[in-house]
């Protein structure tokens, strides 16, 4: 009964989405206020219906309702409760339902904060989000229905993939989708703005908070994914340039360009084409990512059970939505002539360069990710484009970016001089060189030169940001949210770079065979294999090995890596033993059992690896700080004038 309610709610949501897509937008064209006013109730109704549907699916999993085929495929009564709930989004159908739920939640949130928006613009924004929701609901109901029944029900479920039976599944997809899907809001703002020819400073002011929040969530989602892969997969990697990882990274990269471009449009009412295009393409990349993951065109560890039929649907949807938006963009002419761009070293120039560099970086990742597909499509064979390629081309692009962050955030708007900037850069640069050379020299006799480059670039960002923040505080006598947020995010980025640099340059690994009771020295630590014993869990059994780590006779850590065999699927999983620390992670993974006393083991020392994720958290924190609860960024006078002329009635509660 309960799954039927869920199914029915979803069908109702589809009808509501259709209305939400059509009615407000038609009303806006006709000037019929009563139709426009339907936008809010329709959006809210849709959210309630999809939420109801989602809750019934959760109930089906909690009760392990084996008459629902999606539950059978992904769950099991022996599965612990938390994993039963997160299994809801563990596979294609359920995660798609999560997708539409989050989309409707974002739309609902928009209806709560729509007061400053002109009626017609708001109607179009809600309408466009309705179109997207309609498409996804259609897709879900017709090709990926999570409520399909299996009568008679089987004896037991197939169980959730052991890799997913983890805290990571509880947090990573929802966080990621909040960001991924969240970029639909700037997209809707962009297309609505184009349709109403209202791309201006006020428009930028309204869209900026939504963009920042989506970007923050996406960044956190990616960081969570990286952290999860690190401790779950058992070989200590934190980024693999896997196609699906790239699919989430590209919207984040381009989203970064977008948040910087939006600031310029807000401040000076320029870069209109660029900002709007970025907003469209960023969400376009989100949809491309959805396509790549669920269609089977690329091999990936993340890919859901793929089905080309589903791929066709998503492709058509992608073509219509993004193709349509880009077509509207093609004919866009700004309502007012844009102010002249600033001088070569002005803040605008730096931000333009930033946007462009990030766009090139995004295009590079896209090129590498899609190249095997393109070569195959052209009949030129099958090739692989993997981490070695991406590292070679991506990292060099980041270097100029880091340099420019330090300079750009100090540059004046409209005009600045080389002399003034180099004066501002003096002390940070000095501090950078001293500290970088000092640290690099101290760490190791054989320090790689790449480590020095990474440290110099990251420290440069940190010191120039601190200098700028101090200067800003002194001159304005307070900490303004946008500037503070900017500083936090930039420093966060630098910290991530430091983490990446240190772990790549100074990480150590050793494979060896160890017998019970044996001790080995590695990386300045003593590892003793204390013993292995049998273990069992709710739906698995296996072996746990205990390792005691000492450093100069002082106790350092006790690690317990495991090998687990899951009952229902028969899969074997490696759980790494990790001793987390700020300055280092000690990471041990069990290989194969060689005989009753011997195991092959992999020992790892990972210096400062946690900085990678700490930096990501700071980046997101900075974005939220920048939202500011009080301090508004100055908007350009010219567009404030035009805004007052163009708007009609406000939305009243």
């Amino acid at each position: 009964m309960i799954p039927e309610i869920g199914h029915y709610a979803l069908v109702l949501a589809l009808s509501v989405a259709a209305l939400q897509a059509a009615v407000p937008m038609i009303g806006a064209r006709m000037g019929a206020d009563n139709l426009i006013m339907l936008a809010k109730p329709l959006a809210r109704a849709q959210f309630l219906l999809i939420a109801t549907s989602f809750i019934t699916l959760i109930i089906a999993f909690v009760l392990t309702d084996l008459t629902v085929s999606y539950v059978v495929a992904n769950s099991n009564s022996a599965l612990p409760l938390f994993y039963r709930i997160s299994a809801v989004w563990g596979a294609h159908e359920g995660s798609l339902l999560l997708w539409v739920l989050i989309l409707s939640a974002w739309t609902f949130a928009l209806t709560l904060f729509d007061k400053p928006l002109p009626l017609k613009l708001n109607a179009d924004i809600i309408g466009i989000l309705g179109i997207i929701s309609f498409g996804f609901l259609l897709f879900t109901l017709f090709t990926s229905n999570p409520f399909d029944r299996v009568i008679p029900p089987p004896q037991s479920g197939r169980d959730l993939n052991p890799l997913l039976q983890d805290f990571g599944l509880i947090v990573h997809p929802p966080m990621l989708y909040m960001g991924y899907v969240g970029f639909a809001v700037p997209f809707a703002f962009a297309v609505a703005g184009l349709l109403n020819n209202q791309i201006n400073s006020a428009w930028a002011k309204w869209v900026r908070p939504w963009t920042l929040i989506a970007w923050a969530f996406l960044g956190l989602g990616i960081a969570l994914g990286s952290w999860w892969a690190y401790y779950e997969l058992g070989w200590g990697g934190w980024w693999f340039w896997d196609p699906v990882e790239n699919a989430s990274f590209m919207p984040w990269l381009l989203g970064t360009a977008l948040i910087h471009s939006v600031v310029v449009t807000q401040k000076k009412a320029i870069f209109k084409h660029w900002t709007v295009l970025l907003a469209i393409v960023t969400f376009g990349l989100s949809l491309v990512g959805t396509f790549l993951v669920r269609s089977g065109v690329l091999t990936s560890v993340h890919a859901f059970a793929t089905d080309p039929a589903r791929g066709v649907f998503i492709l058509m949807f992608l073509a219509i939505v993004i193709g349509g938006a880009l077509l509207v963009f093609t004919f866009y002419k700004p309502d007012a002539p844009q102010e002249p761009h600033g001088s070569a070293l002005s803040r605008e120039s730096f931000l333009l360069t930033n946007s462009v560099l990030l766009s090139v970086a995004t295009a590079t990742v896209l090129l590498g990710t899609l190249y095997p597909l393109m070569i195959d499509a052209l009949g030129l064979g099958k090739i692989s484009v993997g981490a070695p390629y991406f590292n070679s081309v991506f990292i060099p692009l980041m270097a100029p970016l880091l340099i420019l962050i330090g300079l750009g955030q100090r540059a004046f708007w409209t005009n600045d001089s080389f002399r003034r900037l180099s004066n501002a850069a003096k002390y940070p640069l000095l501090a950078t060189i001293i500290l970088a050379l000092g640290t690099w020299g101290m760490i190791d006799d054989t320090s790689p030169i790449m480590a020095l480059f990474g440290l110099v670039l990251a420290l440069w960002v940190i010191f120039s940001t601190l200098a700028g923040q101090i200067r800003h505080y002194r001159s304005s006598k307070k900490l303004t949210s946008p500037y503070l947020g900017q500083s936090i995010s930039h420093i966060g980025f630098a910290i991530t770079v430091i983490g990446i640099t240190l772990v790549s340059s100074y990480g150590l690994e050793k494979h060896l065979r160890m017998s019970e009771g044996e001790t080995t020295t590695f990386g300045g630590y003593e590892f003793r294999f204390a013993g292995a014993s049998a273990i069992s869990g709710p739906n698995y059994n296996g072996t746990e090995a205990i390792f005691l780590v000492h450093s100069e006779n002082k106790f350092e850590a006790r690690l317990a890596p495991q090998k687990r065999n899951y009952h229902s699927g028969g899969q074997t999983m490696t759980e790494a033993g990790i001793s987390p620390g700020f300055t280092r992670d000690i990471y041990i993974a069990l290989g194969e059992k060689i005989n009753d006393t011997d195991w092959s083991v992999r020992l790892n020392i990972k210096p400062f690896v946690r900085l990678i994720w700490l930096g990501a958290i700071l980046m997101a924190l900075g974005a939220i700080t920048a939202l500011g609860f009080g301090n508004a960024t100055k908007t350009s006078h010219q567009s404030q004038k035009s805004y007052r002329i163009n708007t009609t009635t406000r939305i009243s509660e």
């Binding site: 093609t330 095997p372 195959d376």
Partner: protein, 175 residues
């Protein structure tokens, strides 16, 4: 005009994606198509002492089927190979890959032996020469010992028919 560029690039991307949907990214074509079958000495499965030169078969085209007793998919295609064997149109040679002699012989006794000869490759060394990465895989070799086609996965009637056509076409063009 410049503003048309994003739309144009997007359309090209969609076209690539559409073509991509018709392809299987996991299938890896063999670089050995068009090359000669590597010449190696291998043991025969049944009579452990006899060693065979893979070049012994040159003179007529043949099918080289890579199989193992632990491979479920090999069982799927086996009846088709039995059929082909009874038709006697083209000789079939087996390569028993990463298996034990006992298990392999037992499997053949149970399911039938369509093979003219079966080469025994317990360590997978010859398989590596052939670029085998899964079982079953089947090579179609012409009378000069050149590999003309490789099929990955279990065979079905249309695969076999198409491959034999390729072999015949080569044969006719060289006459």
């Amino acid at each position: 005009m410049r503003q048309l560029i994003p739309f144009s690039i997007f359309i090209i991307l969609i076209i690539f994606f559409a073509i991509g949907l018709t392809k299987d990214p996991r299938l890896i074509p063999s670089p050995l198509v068009g090359e000669s079958l590597p010449v190696r000495q291998l043991d025969e499965l049944r009579t452990a002492e006899t060693t065979l030169l893979t070049s012994n078969l040159i003179g007529s085209s043949f099918i080289l089927n890579v199989w193992a007793s632990w491979c479920a998919a090999c069982l799927e295609e086996h009846h088709l190979l039995m059929e082909l064997a009874t038709q006697d149109a083209i000789p079939i040679v087996g390569l028993n890959y990463k298996d034990t002699r006992q298990d392999a012989l037992r499997w053949l006794d149970k399911n039938g032996d369509p093979y003219l000869q079966t080469w025994f490759d317990p360590a997978g060394e010859f398989g590596m020469e052939l670029g085998v990465y899964g079982v079953p895989e089947t090579f179609f070799v012409d009378m000069t010992g050149t590999i003309r086609h490789k099929h990955i996965g279990p065979l079905d009637r249309s695969n076999i028919a198409k491959a034999i056509d390729i072999l015949n076409a080569e044969q006719n063009s060289s006459l």
